[in-house]
């Protein structure tokens, strides 16, 4: 077994794992702070990729400006999303929030299909065919960029959550909403920020991946199910747990994919999720709260 082959698989896995992490962390954050499972999460990732496609192809915007614009747009969209739809739910009957976000995902996904058709679109950028070459291992430049952006996003999120007042407040609300209220934290403002960050992360992921894969309205669908499995494996509401589980899944999928048929790889996330639920329902890293 060649080392070069293994390293190639590892690198592939890391890149895809970081992308999974970006999406899963946002989902986890939103659940932790609002107790809402955002079924529409994948659609925001897809919309971001679509936006990146149009910005690049129709407006001729470069890679980095596109990423910046789309990520910021993601933050804004998250803000609006909270105010318009989620604020009134206030963590009540959980079914209402699930069904609401499900409805939202239906609107966004099918709206995108109607407007853009399911025909995949490919972005051609100057980086499309560029590679970093380390001996036997070739990594496309765009994937390295995605990796870098992901890592930067982690770092930023970590700083916000653990080094700022606002971040502390978010962790407080996630731990115990009522207690947070009692000490004077405004749950509304915190929730709004959490949703903005969550959607912003999806936006970043979408813009980073758009030039790598084909862009089409159903691309969010399959990612979001992996994200669900990841947040259960990591522990519902545990953001760092989600990140670790995501990277682990990405690497494992690629390592397995190098030797086993694709079939087994597709089912891996689901099987892992079931296993965790049977053995350790609160997730690998728990939350302090039972699942």
């Amino acid at each position: 077994m060649e080392a070069g082959f293994l390293i190639q698989l590892l690198v592939n896995g890391l890149v895809i794992g970081v992308i999974y992490a970006l999406i899963a962390m946002g989902l986890s954050l939103i659940f932790g702070v609002l107790e809402i499972v955002n079924f529409a999460h994948g659609e925001f990732y897809m919309l971001a990729a679509m936006a990146a496609y149009f910005l690049t192809t129709n407006l001729g915007l470069g890679y980095w400006p596109t990423v910046a614009v789309v990520s910021v747009a993601g933050l804004a969209v998250g803000y609006v999303l909270y105010e318009a739809l989620l604020a009134s739910l206030r963590g009540e009957s959980f079914e209402r929030s699930i069904l609401l976000t499900l409805g939202l995902s239906m609107v966004l996904q099918n709206g995108a299909i109607f407007l853009f058709t399911t025909t995949p679109k490919m972005i051609v950028s100057p980086y499309t065919y560029a590679n970093f070459i380390f001996g036997q291992v070739r990594v496309p430049v765009l994937r390295v960029f995605a990796l870098g952006l992901g890592v930067a996003a982690f770092a930023l999120l970590y700083l916000v959550l653990y080094r700022t007042q606002v971040g502390k407040a978010m962790r407080g609300v996630a731990q115990n909403r009522d207690a947070a209220l009692m000490v004077g934290i405004d749950p509304r403002a915190i929730s709004r920020l959490a949703v903005a960050i969550g959607i912003g992360l999806s936006g970043l992921a979408g813009a980073a991946l758009a030039p790598i894969y084909a862009v089409h309205p159903l691309m969010g669908f399959s990612f979001v199910f992996k994200a669900f499995a990841i947040i259960i494996i990591g522990g519902l509401g545990n953001v760092s747990g989600a990140a670790i589980a995501a990277i682990a899944l990405g690497v494992l999928e690629n390592l397995m994919g190098g030797f086993l048929p694709q079939v087994t790889v597709d089912g891996l996330a689901f099987v892992a999720m079931i296993a965790i639920l049977l053995i350790r329902p609160e997730g690998l890293f728990g939350r302090g709260v039972r699942v």
Binding site: V37, E95, I98, M106, I113, M273
Partner: protein, 326 residues
């Protein structure tokens, strides 16, 4: 309408319904009937699980598809008859339903929703990847025209859409009678108690798990059987039978009709089955509309149509003066 007239009117309406194929050979009407029969069983099953027992499960479509594949494989590989294969499809689906019902014990409602939705997706992945069993994305086309052996030595060849119309509508009717009897019985009231307040119901001696298992298993069985009949109507079964589209549609029917409202869901199913052909929307726009309805319902009227009627009845009841009627 006095008590005697209601059942009679009902029977007359029923007779009229089944006479439809004889009165008109119109393909659209027959297709509508088959569609309505299918979705009504799915939606009522979901209503039973979610509306009456309070368990939000997205696994319904998995039962539908498993039933379809089981029946198709049994008929094409082992040459069983449609009767037994469809029953087997229902039974297998019911067993899976039982498993899923048990899992609800250990999981929070969030995790349960996620697990059921992932399970439906897993079914699609398995049907696509396990090519040696299911022929993968190619599906099993050319399902043979089924023959049902009827009592009296007769054999009914279902080679026209009107045959499937009668068969599936008949099954839908039987399912609905069964569900109606269930929800208006003591068991039904117990289910509603569990939905309203599970700990309180438990303190009264009711076992919530039992009711959850009952509803999930029953709805799984019914979905499995209608799935079996549906794929023979289509003459093909392929992974698209697990499409999220079915989940989304039956969910809308339940939400719009009102979770827990038997007639509300039946009504909304009829409307939502007929509407697409009338409006001639493309599928995607229709889904956008459904999504908007879902959002609107969650924000504004979570009880659906049935809930609205219930509120009116309650308001009317409240307006009654105290004491006996004058």
């Amino acid at each position: 309408m006095n008590r005697g007239a209601a059942p009679l009117a009902f029977l007359v309406a029923l007779a009229a319904l089944f006479a439809v194929p004889r009165l008109t050979g119109n393909e659209y009407v027959l297709a509508f009937g088959v569609s309505f029969a299918t979705f009504s069983v799915l939606a009522s099953g979901l209503n039973l699980v979610y509306g009456y027992t309070g368990l939000l499960s997205f696994a319904q479509v998995a039962f539908f598809g498993v039933g379809g594949y089981t029946c198709a494989l049994l008929v094409t590989e082992w040459h069983w008859s449609l009767w037994t294969s469809a029953a087997a499809g229902g039974v297998l689906a019911a067993l899976i339903g039982l498993l899923i019902g048990y899992s609800s014990l250990r999981l929070s409602r969030h995790a349960f929703a996620i697990v059921t939705i992932s399970f439906a997706l897993l079914c699609m992945i398995v049907s696509r990847d396990w090519v040696s069993l299911t022929r993968g994305s190619m599906g099993i086309p050319g399902l043979p025209v089924p023959s049902l052996a009827l009592p009296g030595g007769l054999s009914w060849r279902l080679n026209r859409p009107s045959d499937f119309f009668s068969l599936m509508l008949g099954f839908s009717l039987a399912s609905h009678v069964l569900i109606y009897l269930l929800v208006t019985s003591r068991i039904g009231r117990a289910m509603q108690a569990v939905k309203l307040n599970e700990p309180l119901a438990q303190s009264q001696g009711l076992n919530p798990l039992g009711y959850k298992l009952l509803t999930i298993t029953l709805s799984a069985f019914l979905s499995g059987v209608i799935g079996s009949l549906f794929v023979f109507y289509l003459t093909i079964v392929d992974p698209s039978i697990f499409d999220f589209y079915y989940t989304e549609t039956m969910l809308i029917m339940v939400i719009l009709g009102g979770p827990g409202s038997f007639w509300g869901v039946l009504f909304s199913t009829a409307v939502l089955t007929g509407l697409p052909d009338l409006l001639r929307f493309s599928t995607d726009l229709r889904m956008v509309l459904y999504g908007l309805i879902l959002i609107g319902a969650m924000l504004l009227f979570p009880g659906g149509i049935g809930g609205w009627f219930k509120q009116r009845r309650l308001a009317h009841w409240r307006k009654q003066p105290y004491g006996d009627k004058p």
